[in-house]
Amino acid sequence: MNVDKTIFEYSSPGRVGVTLPDLDVPEVGVDTLVGPENLRDDLPLPELSQTDVIRHFTRLSLANYSVDRGFYPLGSCTMKYNPKINEEVASLSGFANMHPFQDDSLAQGTLAAMYATQEYIKGITGFDAVTLQPAAGAQGEYTALMVFKRHHEKIGQGHRRIVIVPDSSHGTNPATATRCGYGIVKIESGQDGRVDLSALADALNDEVAAVMLTNPNTLGLFESEIAEICELVHKAGALIYCDGANMNAVMGWYRPADSGFDAMHLNLHKTFSTPHGGGGPGSGPVAVKDFLAPYLPVPNVALKDKLYYLDYDRPDSIGRVHGCYGNTAIALRACAYILTMGAKGLKEVSDNAVLNANYLLSRLNDAYEVPFDCRCMHEFVASASRQKALGVKALDIAKRLIDFGYHPPTIYFPLIVAEALMIEPTETESIETLDEFIEAMLTIARESQTNPDVLQSAPHNTPVRRLDEATAARKPVLRYVDD
C-alpha cells in the first residue's frame, strides 16, 4: 500500500476546507478594481473538504520517523528531545500574533526575550556581542564570514582572499566561503583526526582571511591544541571562526571565545533543543568578539534606559541578512530551554551527551572499526570498512537499522572516513535505549557475516523500500501532473 495518494488526487470541484466571512462592504467588480488584464483566468489549485485535508496529512505524518517516536542518533545533527513547554510558550498568542514593524515600545515582551537570549549566548560562548538574525547554521557561517570580510576591508586587509578549512569540515563551510568571494584551501587532518599544526602553518600566509574550524570537530574530537591554533592564525593576521554545530559537547566546560576564536555560530535547533521541523526552521545566531561587534547585521536588539529597541544606527554593519530579525519564535524556544536548564543543567547536558557517546563507543568498538579510537566527545565516527570487505556498505547497515526501529546515523559525511557511521546519541537518551541500540548494531555486525543479503535488501518493513535516486536525478519529476 502506498503512503497516501497525493493531495491533488483528492480534489473534487466545489469542495472547500474552510469557510470565510461574507463581504461586509459594497461589492465592486474585480474587473473594475484592477482591470481584466491583471486578472488570472484559472487558478489550478486542488479542492478538498476539511476531512480530506486532515486525513491526508495525518497519513503522511505516520510515514515519518521522528524523535518523539524513537532514537535518532544522526551524527552532527544533535537530534535531542524537544521539550513541549517550549512549543507552548513560543506559541502564546502575545508572541505569535505580533507584527514585526510596530513601535519598539509595543513589542517589549518579544524584544526582552530576544535580548535575554543574546545575553545568555554571550554567557555560554564567552563572546561579547550576538546577532539572532541568521535563519540557520549555514547563514550564521555566512554572516560571520561577511563580518570578517568587512573588518578586513576596514583595516586595509581587503586583499585577503583565502579561507582555510580542514578536510573533515561540514560541506557548508567551503560552500559558505565561496559565497563570500573567498578561495578555499583545504588542509588534511593529522593522524589523530585533529588539525595538523604544521599543515596549518604551511597554509597560512598574508592572503589568508580566515580559518573555519568546528570544535569539537566532526569526528567528535576536541581540538586539544586550539589555543596554539588560534595563536598561529592570529600571528598570520587572519581570523578564526568556530562552527558551533557541536556545542552540545562542551557547555559549562569550554567557551570558544576563551581559547581565541574570533566568532562562532550556534545552531539553536541542535544544542538548544528547538525542533528540526523536517528540515527547518532552524536558527543560527552569531557571536563575536568586541572588535567585530560593529559589523554585525542591522538591526540588533539593544537596551537603553530600561527600553529594549531595535538598533538601526550601525554604520559599519554588513547590512541585513533577513527580511525581519531572524527566526524569532525559534529564539523564544531556545530562551525557554536555557531558562529551564540554568548553568548547572546545561553542564549536565554536555556531561551526559559525552557520557552517552563514550558508552556507545565502548560497546561498539569491537564489532566496528573506529578509525580514531580514543575517548570521544558527544559523537564518534565508526566505519563499516570491515563489513565492506564482506560486501556490506555503511548504507546497508543504515537501512537495516531502520528495520530495528531506529533512525540511522549520518553516513554521507565526514568525507575523510570511508563508510562512515557518525553516531551522536545526545543526553536525552536513557541507558536502556542505548543498550537496545547496541544490541541491534551487534546483531547487524553478525548478520553482515552470516546473512549479508538481509542487510543489502533492507529496509523490509517500511512504507517504501529503497528508492531509485539515480532515475530521480536523471529524469526529474518535481511536481504532480494530472495525466
Binding site: 469542495r15 472547500v16 476546507g17 470565510l20 478594481l33 491583471n38 488570472r40 487558478l43 489550478p44 489549485l45 486532515i54 491526508h56 496529512f57 505524518s61 510515514a63 515519518n64 520517523y65 518523539d68 517516536r69 510558550v89 502575545g94 500574533n97 514585526p100 514593524f101 513589542a107 535563519a135 549555514a138 547563514q139 561577511m146 560541506g171 567551503p174 560552500a175 568571494g181 567557551r255 521541523g277 523536517g278 533577513h322 527580511g323 530579525y325 527566526n327 524569532t328 523564544l332 525557554a336 540554568g342 548553568a343 548547572k344 549536565e348 559525552v354 563514550n358 565502548s362 575517548r375 554521507y412 536525552t428 536513557s430 523500500r465 528508492l467 526529474p476 519529476v477 511536481r479 504532480y480
Partner: protein, 444 residues
C-alpha cells in the same frame, strides 16, 4: 532534570563500561588552560510553572492582534490561519523529524514537500519550485545570484518599488559575493519604466521587480518583461502569494525566476520569523536552483515514492562548487503553506484575495475624501495602498492605537521624500467596523 534520564547509578554503570573513573575524565581532551573556571553566568533554572508565568508576562507586554486590529503590512501580513494548519503542524511526526536523508522513513515529509512544490508551481504558473528558502528577502538574493550564474553577467538591477528590507538584503549579498547592485527609481507608487529601461544593459544579469509592489500597486509586468529579455537579462519577480488568488501569475508574464514571502500562507507573524521563502523558476534553469528539491521516483518494488534529488548542486556533495551554501529548507513552514493551500483550495484562496482587495478599496475610498488625507495610489492596487496623512505618521498611529487599531507603516523611514506618508494594508480579517473606525480617527 526532566530531559536527562541518566541517574547516578546509570552513570556509574556506563563509566564502568567505558573504563573511566568519572565524567571529568571524559573531558581530558580539553586542556586546562582553555577550560571554563567556575559556572556559566546564567539565571537560576525555572520550573515549568515559573517558565509559563514568565513567558505569559512577557507576551502580555506585546501589542498583539489579540488586542488590536492590524492595518500594518509591508511584507508581513495578518491573514487568517485555518485551524487545520495548527492541527497538522502540531503532529510531532512532522516537527521532531529532520531533513529527509533516509527516504524510506521520511515519506511524510518528502511527499508533503513534493505537494508544496506542485502547489507553488500552480500558484505562480512556473514549471519548477524548490522545497523553500529562509524568507522572501534572502530568496530574492538567491535569485539574483542564480541569475548571474545562468547569464554569466555581473550586474543586478532592482526597482526601488521592491520591499526595502529585500533591497537591503540584496545589497549585503551583492557586496559579499562581489556582484554589482543598481537601483532603478520609482515614479510615484510604481517603477519608472523609462528609467528602468535605460538602466538595463549588456551586463545586466537580472531585473528584479515586485508585484504587487511595496506600495501595493500592480506593476506593468508585460512591459518590464520585454525590456529585460530584449537585453538578455532574466526577469525576477517577487510576488505576494495571496494576490495570486486573483492576479495574473508571474509565469504568465514569462518571468524566469519568481520569489515570494510565504508567511501569508498559514504562518503567524511571530514578530517576523520564522518566515518562508517561496522559490520557482523555468525548467531550463532547474539545475542552477539553490536549496533542497524533492522528486518522485519508484522503489525496488516499483512503488511510487519521493527522494531529495538533484543533490549534485548542493554543499554536502559539491562543497565549494555548490550552487548555494543552503543546507536545509524551512521544512515546517513549507508544510504550513501546503496545508493552508490545500484547505483553502481554488475557491478559498480566490475568496481570500477578493475579500482583501474589495475591503482595501473600500478603506481607500473612505480615506480619500477626508480633509488633509490624500490617496497616493493612482494605479490599480491589491490589498495595500499609500496615503498622505494630515500629521506625522507616529502621531496618527498613536491616535489609532487609542481606537484599538494598529496603523500603517511610516513610509518616510524608507523613502525620506515620503514623510507623513503611510502604507496601509487590509486583509480578509478586517471588518467594516474596524475600517470605519480607522477613517474616523483620521478625521480628528
Amino acid at each position: 532534570m526532566p530531559y536527562i534520564p541518566n541517574t547516578d547509578d546509570d552513570q556509574r554503570r556506563m563509566l564502568e563500561s567505558i573504563g573511566a573513573s568519572g565524567i571529568e575524565e571524559l573531558f581530558e581532551q580539553i586542556p586546562a588552560d582553555v577550560r571554563l573556571q567556575g559556572d556559566l553566568d546564567l539565571p537560576s533554572p525555572m520550573s515549568e510553572i515559573e517558565l509559563r508565568r514568565h513567558f505569559a508576562n512577557l507576551a502580555d507586554k506585546n501589542a498583539s492582534t489579540d488586542r488590536f486590529a492590524c492595518f500594518l503590512g509591508a511584507g508581513i501580513y495578518d491573514h487568517y490561519i485555518p485551524s487545520t494548519v495548527a492541527a497538522v503542524l502540531g503532529r510531532s511526526e512532522f516537527y521532531t523529524s529532520y531533513t529527509p536523508y533516509q527516504p524510506e522513513i521520511s515519506q511524510g515529509t518528502l511527499q508533503s514537500i513534493f505537494e508544496f512544490q506542485t502547489l507553488i508551481c500552480q500558484l505562480t504558473g512556473m514549471e519548477v519550485a524548490n522545497a523553500s528558502l529562509y524568507d522572501g528577502a534572502t530568496g530574492v538574493a538567491e535569485a539574483a545570484i542564480m541569475a548571474s550564474s545562468v547569464t554569466k553577467r555581473q550586474q543586478w538591477l532592482v526597482s526601488e518599488c521592491v520591499n526595502p528590507a529585500y533591497r537591503e538584503t540584496l545589497r549585503t549579498y551583492a557586496w559579499a559575493t562581489g556582484y554589482e547592485l543598481t537601483e532603478a527609481p520609482r515614479d510615484g507608487v510604481a517603477s519608472d519604466l523609462s528609467k528602468l529601461k535605460g538602466r538595463i544593459g549588456e551586463e545586466t544579469a537580472c531585473v528584479i521587480v515586485q508585484n504587487p509592489n511595496f506600495f501595493g500597486s500592480i506593476e506593468d509586468l508585460g512591459e518590464i518583461e520585454s525590456m529585460a529579455h530584449e537585453k538578455g537579462a532574466l526577469l525576477v519577480v517577487s510576488f505576494d502569494p495571496i494576490s495570486l488568488g486573483l492576479l495574473k501569475p508571474p509565469g504568465e508574464y514569462n518571468a524566469d525566476i519568481v520569489v515570494g514571502e510565504g508567511q501569508s500562507l498559514g504562518l503567524p507573524m511571530a514578530f517576523g520569523g520564522p518566515l518562508l521563502g517561496l522559490f520557482a523558476c523555468k525548467q531550463q534553469y532547474m539545475r542552477q536552483m539553490p536549496g533542497r528539491i524533492v522528486g518522485a521516483t519508484t522503489d525496488t518494488e516499483g512503488k511510487p515514492g519521493y527522494v531529495l534529488t538533484l543533490q549534485t548542486r548542493e554543499q554536502h556533495i559539491r562543497r565549494e562548487k555548490a550552487t548555494s551554501n543552503i543546507c536545509t529548507n524551512q521544512g515546517l513552514c513549507a508544510l504550513a503553506a501546503t496545508v493552508y493551500l490545500s484547505t483553502l483550495g481554488k475557491t478559498g484562496l480566490r475568496q481570500v484575495a477578493e475579500l482583501c482587495m474589495q475591503k482595501a478599496h473600500y478603506l481607500a475610498d473612505q480615506i480619500d475624501g477626508i480633509d488633509g488625507c490624500k490617496l497616493l495610489s493612482n494605479r490599480p492596487f491589491f490589498k495595500e495602498f499609500a496615503i498622505k496623512c494630515p500629521a506625522p505618521v507616529s502621531e496618527i498611529n498613536g491616535r489609532l492605537r487609542e481606537a484599538g487599531l494598529i496603523g500603517g507603516l511610516d513610509l518616510g523611514r524608507f523613502y525620506p521624500e515620503l514623510a507623513d506618508c503611510m502604507l496601509l494594508c487590509v486583509t480578509e480579517k478586517r471588518t467594516r467596523d474596524e475600517m470605519d473606525r480607522l477613517a474616523e480617527a483620521l478625521k480628528q
